[in-house]
Amino acid sequence: MATLSYTSPELLTINAARLLRDGDVVFVGVGLPNLACNLARRTHAPNLVMIYEAGVIGAQPARLPLSIGDPTLVSGALSVCSMYDIFAFYLQRGNVDVGFLGGAQIDRFGNINATVIGGYAHPKVRLPGSGGSMEIAAWADRCYIITPHQKRRFPEKVDFCTSAGFMSGRAEREAARLRGAGPQAVVTDLGILEPDASGELVLTALHPGATLEQAQTNTGWALKAAPELKTTPPPSAEELRILREELDPDKIYLKGGE
């Protein structure tokens, strides 16, 4: 069989979708996480429940939403509630299985910075800030992060901790008594990083064609590889077809990358 060609956003989306389990209640963000959830729903996880921080539960978007408050999320949804309710009754109460997170920086222990580059009071670059990510990182059972694998995105330590990963190590997160288990995987265009026993992110899988050396060169700390380093199965024809033909035919999120 000939090898299929695919772009980096397609690779990220497909590998993120595979992490979802049927029946998961997922706090969805826009962009690639939204595509990943919709892909999972059309493949191995038909009973996935998509929740949006705008207060929509069980959305079945008929078109690709540009923002997390798009009207297509509302029409045909199971329920719509206030912002307070979605964060309190759903997330804080422990009714969310999976949260997707992103940020400008992700460090060795999975802490995320989406707030500032440089000092807080006089920021060099002012980023959008937490939104709901501070609570999602703390209270969703499992968190997944999707990001391009670049050294500047993977510093040893974040400039500002917008949302907690394992902090300085798993013991510190446990002492903080957060209900969620923290980041479970970081999906990059080179492979997958997962926390080890100490909470440090280590490389557990490479995508076809990527090398350990490439991953290490593009990481800001001494990235370790797991003892059994796996290779992810390449994107299937069916996964690519659903993404390209059904979910993002105009390539709004899938453009770019190689």
Partner: protein, 300 residues
């Protein structure tokens, strides 16, 4: 005198220089027309509070209305950076106070319910809690554990746009209901704008849909298409193309000023703005009907 007045009169009467303003709406029902009227009336030194400042506050900051923003996500939703607010913050020209979504909404809920603070479970994201002294911790009197608390947010004026209201301001809202109710109850004054002003019987036909009772509302304004480029569920679509276009316009302060000159100062009111957008935009934002199944309240 009745509450049903023009938007210009409502802003003249209820929005003062130096006020803390909360223009409500999570992506949905953002009251752009009211923001534009505040710009036209050249209010100054406002503190602009919103979970997501969105384009409306980007424009108000560009127009020089604000001295401070209070927010929890400062981005152009689905597009990227909120360039003008961001530039003003980076240049040190604008004060800011920052929260996460849940703590921002908890502040509003404390304000809306008359509580001294709202408790939240810990998130261990300590950097923001250290950067913003409004975050405090208290001891849970029942378990002895630590609880994070935030103080009430009590804006001087809330601005809330709704699908339909009667002349007293009893208001029906559906679709994403964000923080409309909390903003209205938390504020000293409430300006309510509506796509449609309907007889009281319409409101009474579906009381579960009334999020805001008229007796907390000060002014009721009939402003069709108030939300554009945001949207009103069932009335018109979100103008995503404009959100993308603003990303270009706002790269350059002069272009942003030219936009304000043409689309805010250059029009008398929202009706003129909507006509100026033209039939092509109107067609693009038109929404097909999708009615809910009626419910039977019963006659007792």
């Amino acid at each position: 005198m009745g509450k049903l007045i023009s938007l210009a009169e409502a802003v003249a009467r209820y929005v003062q220089d130096g006020d803390t303003v909360y223009a409500a709406g999570f992506t949905h029902l953002i009251p752009f027309a009211v923001g534009h009227e505040i710009i036209r009336q050249r209010r100054r030194n406002l503190t602009l509070a919103r979970a997501t400042p969105d384009l409306v506050y980007d424009q108000m900051v560009a127009a020089g209305c604000a001295k401070k923003v209070i927010f929890s996500y400062m981005g152009n939703p689905g597009v990227g950076s909120l360039r003008l607010v961001r530039a003003a913050v980076e240049a040190g020209e604008l004060e800011w106070e920052e929260y996460s979504h849940f703590s921002m909404i908890s502040r509003l809920t404390a304000g809306a319910t008359g509580l001294p603070f709202m408790p939240m479970n810990p998130t261990a994201a300590g950097d923001l809690e250290r950067a913003n002294p409004s975050y405090r911790t208290v001891t849970d009197p029942y378990t002895g554990g630590q609880v994070v608390v935030v103080p009430p947010l009590k804006p001087d004026v809330a601005i809330v746009h709704v699908q339909r209201a009667d002349e007293e301001g009893n208001a029906h809202i559906w679709g994403i209901i964000g923080e409309q109710k909390e903003a209205a109850f938390a504020s000293q004054r409430v300006i309510l704008s509506a796509e449609e002003i309907v007889p009281a019987e319409v409101i009474r036909s579906d009381p579960n849909r009334t999020l805001i009772p008229g007796f907390i509302v000060d002014a009721v304004c009939h402003v069709p298409f108030c939300s554009h480029p945001s949207y009103t569920q069932g009335y018109y679509d979100r103008d995503n193309a404009f959100y993308l276009e603003w990303d270009e316009i706002s790269k350059d302060r002069q272009r942003a000023q030219a936009y304000l000159d043409e689309w805010v100062f250059g029009v008398k009111d929202r009706q003129e703005y909507w006509e100026k957008l033209g039939p092509q935009v109107h067609r693009r934002l038109k929404v097909k009907r999708r009615l809910s199944t009626p419910v039977d309240y019963g006659s007792y």
